[in-house]
Point group: C2
Chain length 219, copies 2
């Protein structure tokens, strides 16, 4: 797949070596996130809302209640900027100035569109739950028509997009390498912990296999 | 301390029971984050940039290179919205519709100001490193005048602010509790992993005690 084309918004001027327009890199960062931040203008002010997200092909999907401020703003075609960030570690250089963080981030510029088609909408919500917890959709009580009607699903094309990442050890000034100061990376990881059953769960309902599998892997 | 006063921006309309204007709640969410998202308008478009942050009293601090797009926009007094989000778990309800996430988030609206005073600026960077890695500032090679001159430190008052949180088990519709479907929470946690030494670290430089302590705790 061809790389995404940089625009005035997505061309990285500082540390351009950290930028990537490669779809595989962009997709991997998105797929490792449960949540994005959607920045948009509404009224006289600028807002951002954290919201769950998932990807299908070259679209990022979100959903929300019809009446929410964000859904109303985005449904009206507001330009927005969507961000996803993973902090992967503290980079402890010998000098304070060269200290940094390891991270993976994506920014998407554009406009959301509403997923109007009922079949597409239901399938998108199915994919969302598969993404969160593969295998659960078939078991959970699926949405009824009232619930579906109260929910808006939106998607934004992943076109005006840039990934920015830093990884690896610190980069100190040449003369600082001689200083007797420990330097390296403190990795930070998001990990799943063992599931906690609802206190109201009936005692004869077992933990499903798909949850045991899900818990074993760090997301 | 008195609670923060809700404004048109920060009054939560959907799930108002999840909103908090309590300074202790707001501060704890901020202090658990290494990174925030700063949304701002520049030129004809809306942007957001993930950037490291730390708190001192009732101000959120960030820093950046003088020439960065974000620093220039914020230094000019642009209105902005700063967001911090922690995803704490997947909330698996019996119904797909009632499924949710546990999270802690903060939004701050306002304008950044530059920390111009050299003593304040250096002390702010000191506090930043203390926050990231307590004890390291005294050991690291501290910033020289050229490095300080290349860096802008900014802060935003924590005044127009709201915390929004969800925790605990799923809340299903009454009739769904009878369904034989596992329900509960899959907790997600950010954890520090053992430090990775710079491959260029001299073999006689030991891991400092403050790093062993830091690694033992999940941030």
């Amino acid at each position: 797949m061809n790389p995404f084309a940089p625009t005035a918004n997505t061309r990285v001027r500082r540390h351009p070596e950290r930028a990537s327009y490669d779809p595989a890199t962009v997709y991997a960062i998105i797929d490792d996130a449960y949540c994005c931040q959607v920045a948009f203008n509404l009224g006289d002010d600028i807002h951002q809302i954290p919201t769950a997200c998932w990807r299908e092909g070259n679209y990022l999907y979100i959903h929300g209640s019809n009446g929410s401020r964000m859904v109303r703003a985005l449904a009206s075609g507001s330009r927005c900027c969507v961000g996803i960030t993973h902090v992967d570690g503290l980079v402890l250089a010998r000098s304070a100035f060269s200290s940094s963080m390891n991270y993976r981030s994506v920014l998407i510029y554009g406009q959301f569109e509403i997923v109007e088609d009922p079949g597409h909408k239901l399938e998108a919500l199915h994919q969302f739950m598969e993404f969160l917890c593969a295998g659960r959709w078939q078991e959970a009580r699926q949405p009824n028509s009232k619930e579906l009607a109260a929910t808006t699903v939106l998607r934004i094309p992943i076109e005006e997009v840039v990934a920015k990442t830093r990884s690896g050890p610190p980069k100190d000034d040449t003369e600082d390498y001689a200083l007797p100061i420990w330097a390296g990376v403190l990795p930070l990881q998001a990990q799943a912990a063992p599931p906690i059953a609802d206190p109201q769960l009936a005692s004869d309902v077992p933990l499903p296999a798909y949850l045991r599998a899900h818990c074993a892997e760090a997301h």
